[in-house]
Structure formats: structure tokens, C-alpha cells
Symmetry: C2
Amino acid sequence: MTVSRTLAGGRNVRPDVQERVMAAVRELGYYRNENARSLRPGQPSGLIGVAITNLANPYYGNFALGVEEVAAEHGRRIILGNTGEDDARERQLVSDFIGRQVDGLILVPTSGDAAHLRPERLGEVPLVLASRRVPGLDVDTVLLDDVGGAYRGTVSLLDAGHTRIGFLGNRSSVFTGERRYRGYEQAMTERGAVVDPAVVARDQQDVDAASRAARAMLDLDAPPTAIFSANNRNTIGAMREIGRRIRDGVPGPRPALVSFDDFELSELMPVPVTVIDHDARLLGREAATLLFSRLDGSADDAARTVELPVSIEFPLSPAA
Amino acid sequence: MTVSRTLAGGRNVRPDVQERVMAAVRELGYYRNENARSLRPGQPSGLIGVAITNLANPYYGNFALGVEEVAAEHGRRIILGNTGEDDARERQLVSDFIGRQVDGLILVPTSGDAAHLRPERLGEVPLVLASRRVPGLDVDTVLLDDVGGAYRGTVSLLDAGHTRIGFLGNRSSVFTGERRYRGYEQAMTERGAVVDPAVVARDQQDVDAASRAARAMLDLDAPPTAIFSANNRNTIGAMREIGRRIRDGVPGPRPALVSFDDFELSELMPVPVTVIDHDARLLGREAATLLFSRLDGSADDAARTVELPVSIEFPLSPAA
DNA sequence: CGCTATGTTGGTAACGTTACCAACCGCGAG
DNA sequence: CTCGCGGTTGGTAACGTTACCAACATAGCG
């Protein structure tokens, strides 16, 4: 008990005893067993479970960093798992996290079945969703202003005189893919532009698929003069294809690009790129902040949604 | 006990009893307490502690992913901490990890004091270092072929006829910074080129500092005609500055670049970029593999070093 | 000088789990 | 019919920790 008290701050322990305890701790290389600590009822484990869909994507790396920062500020650690968009893996991760007595969960949910996230399954463990919502699950959520960003980005192309604007994005079952498409579609129809299914490609998960989709689109008899790309992977793929056409002297338009998600050196691209930028790290910080406000009881029961704004960065030079 | 046996696989439990147990588990939303489990002597916690220096850097995100993959294949989870190159924070993380009974540690070490990593402090917990070595610490380590990559990259510039080649990199106390500088220096002196301190800048930690360093270098009366950049952050910074000069019509050379670390769309840059590429995810996988070979006892006592090869990607077009 | 108040110390129990052991069951062989 | 054996079941203890309580020492006060 004296050791426990000393390590807990030393209240009501004589200073010379504390000194002897600390000396023994140093000599023995003693570390307090945190697992045994959290075994006692009511004791938090100090762990936050974080599951994201793709750690290789720098956006999620930054997201994880934001969560880790806030967790560290509150004296917690994060256990991190990668789901790879596989909901079986997500289920497995969540149940492992709960088994390790995490104080809370932060997820970028996959699109599959979400029965394992229902309150009756999670018990007292608070959950915060990031980036995506889960249908029918009313919990704290941090989102980006996907619709507004996509709308404003598309409008900037329309303002520049484009009317035939292609769309590259995720399939509609992905939450952000659906929202960003909605923003695009809304801008197009509001301005009387036609959304032609021939220049809408919504099933690319990686850079290569995005390149192929851009190529098919630009090889049409009536290719788009501009492309709205709904995420980083599609932007990189489209840009690769555009660069290839320029290098190889392929005739046809050199489409302007609007990219939802930033990428480095976008200002040096051979065609003008408008970037819809956002702060993944802030998204992570915000998710963690929501979680901790639950943990310290400073939030009422109602589920909250935070929608973070996006900013639009126009190309430095008017055209290439 | 019957519940424990059922959940452990059901050996020597009647099938109908197993069924009743599983039904109760489902009904009650029961999760086995992993912390209590690992409390019993000899039981592993199933956790691997991972501390990296900068999760915002996509390389470390990929590194963490590689570790996570291999850990998941072995049924473990990772606890992740970000040190931000702060060795006090590293110490704190390591002692917390040990307090949580991690089965092993994987670190990208900071450059400070490393007393907390000595075997007598870590006890039985195996440690693997990644990317960097710690002076005087003889443990399993995964490195890149920094010297060889930097050497070959520099040689490619010399072969192209450059003799005045600038260097952008980390200060020499950073392990990789030192090694990459060595490769550069070795190539230069071997070929009789002069390493001029005026075009060597070794103290940039972020993109902005790298831009400023590149600017100062290119503003010299005798600017370099090519630049060797020792890491991703310096490459991006240098490229920004080069792009700015092209855009603003600043007179002077448009230096060719060799970049240690890949970046996306390097083929679309306005000056030719040679990339010294490597696989951070593989680095993570390799580190985890070393760790697990310790854990299952299949490695003998001697510390091992794995040096992963790098590949060199030349620009698609000879010049811009 | 005795009483109380305060500070200090350590004994005990409980958290959830599983290794070990003891008890019990039914079945087949002698 | 009895004995022994393998399969099944649950009691007990222990892992390391801390809340609670009891015991004790000391100081202050009347």
C-alpha cells in the first residue's frame, strides 16, 4: 500500500519513506502493471481504441495523429487497428478493443453491417464516428462539409466557363462518395449543366483504377473539359493520365481539375488544379475532443455532429 | 471454468453446454477481459508498443501499417505513440508500454539519451529499432541502405555532367541524415567533385525551412546545377522554391533533383527528378518480423541488422 | 497526564481470468 | 456387479493493484 500511495503521488507518506520506495523502484526496474490497475472496478484503462480504414493514406495517418495528440493530452494511449474497408475485420477489432477495456472508441466505419456498433453491444463504451456516418446509428460524429465543398468546387469550374465536367469518385455506398457526388450534382443542375453518365465514374478505389477511368473519359468523342475528383486517390490517378497525354502528345483537351483532398505540389501541375482542402489532423483532434467530453460527463445525452469546414485553394496561375 | 474453456475453444466441454454458454455470451454482451487474462503469470498481453517520430509523415504512416499488418497476422494489436522527436516523450511512452505489459517494442528512436532502452531497464521485453540505430545499443535493427542509395543517386547526377551539386538534409545527429550525407560525400570525392559547404544545408526539419535553404543556395553567385535532397520534406521544399522561380521568371539555373524518398507525381515536375525509392510498409513488416522471431524463440541471442535495398527511378523524360 | 485529532502504515478483499486439482458422471471390461 | 477410466464440471488460488479499514504513532490541548 505504501508503494501504491507513493507512486500515486505520495500523499500521506513520509518523505524519507517515499525516498526509499523510489530508490527500490529504480533499483529493481519496477513498472506499475497498468493492466492489473485497470482490473479494479471503476478504474479506466487509459486506452482509446482507434480503427481506421487505410493507414497508408496520408489523410488517415494525419487523422490518427490528431487523435493521438488529444489522447496524450488527456493521459491516454491509443490502440490502433487498420480495417482495410473490411467489416469483418472491424468487428474483430472492436470486440478486441472492448475486451481490453478501452475507455472509448473512435472509428472511421466501413460500409458493411454495423450491428456490432449498436449501444447494446458496446455497453458503456462511448463511440465517435469520423468521416462517415453509419445509417441508423445515432452517435457523436465528425464529418467534413463534403456536400458544400463539392458544390463550391464544381461551381468554380462552372464559373470558369466549363459545362461538360467529369466526375471521378467512390461508389455511392461509401458515405463521403455519395455526399461529394451530391454536391457536384447539385451545382450542375442548379446551373443548368448536364450530368452525363458517360463522364461519371464512381467505382475507383485506387490510383490505377482512377487513371483508367480518366483515360476512358478523355478518349470519348465528347470528352469533358474539366474533371471533378472526389478524393486524393482519384486526383493522383487522373493527373497521371493527363501528364501522360501531355508527354505523349495525345490530342484532346487538357482538362482543368478540382480535387477534393489536398496533395503536395499541386501548384506545379501542368494543368490548373483547384484544391478543396481540409485538415485531417483537426478531424482527429475534433473526434477525440468529442469522445473526452463524453468521458468526463460534460456532454448531455444527445448525439452531436460536428461538420468541419473545407477551404478552397485556387491555382496560383490562371492556366498552364 | 466452463465458460473459460468454451471461449478457449471448447475442448472437454459438452456441445450442448457450449451452446448454452455462447447463448448467454450473446445475450449478456459479454466480452472476455483481456487485461485480467494477461494478469496471470506467463500470459502474453497480445500488445506491441510502437513509437514513431512523426505520424504525419506518410512514410511513418506506411511504416505503422506494415507493423500493424504483421502484428495482426500474429493475433496482436499495436499501441501507437508519436514522439515528435522528443526523447522525454519517448521515455514516457516506453515506460507506459512496459506498464501495459507489451510483448515487444518497435521504435523509431529519437536522437537523445537512450538509457531507458538499455536491456536492464527493459527486462524481458524485446526491442526492435527501425530506420535509425542508437549508439552503443546492440539490438535488432531494420535500416534502409541509406549510404548506398545516396551514393548511387549522387553518382547519377555526376554521370549527367553535374559537378556543383547541393545537399539538403537533416543535421548530422539524425542517424539517416548522417548516413545519407556520407553517401553523397563519398560519391562526390570519389569522382573528384568538390563538396562546397556553401551548397550544403543540413538543418531543415520541415518544408518551409527546406524552401528557404534551397532559395539561399540558388541565390548564390555560383548556384548548384543540381541538388541532392536527403528526404521527402526537403524535396518538397526545394521543389516549391524551384517552381516559384520558374513561375516568377527568376533567372538562374533550374536544378535537377535527386530525392531520397518517393513522392507522388514526381514525374510531372517541371525539372527532372530522380527518386531513391523504398518501401516504408516493408520496413515496418520487416521490423515486426524480427520482433516475432524473438518472441517465438526462433532467433538466437545475437542482435541482427536488416538493411533493406532502395531502388532508383530515373525521370521519364530526359529533361523538362 | 490523559484525551482527541491527525498522520502514517499495512492487512484484507476484490477486480476477471485460467492452471491445477478434486469430484463426479457414465460406460465398457472383467 | 464392480472396478477403472476418460470425459466433464466446478472449487480454489494466484496474478498486481488499490479502496477501505484498523492499528498505531505522534502532537496538541485541556
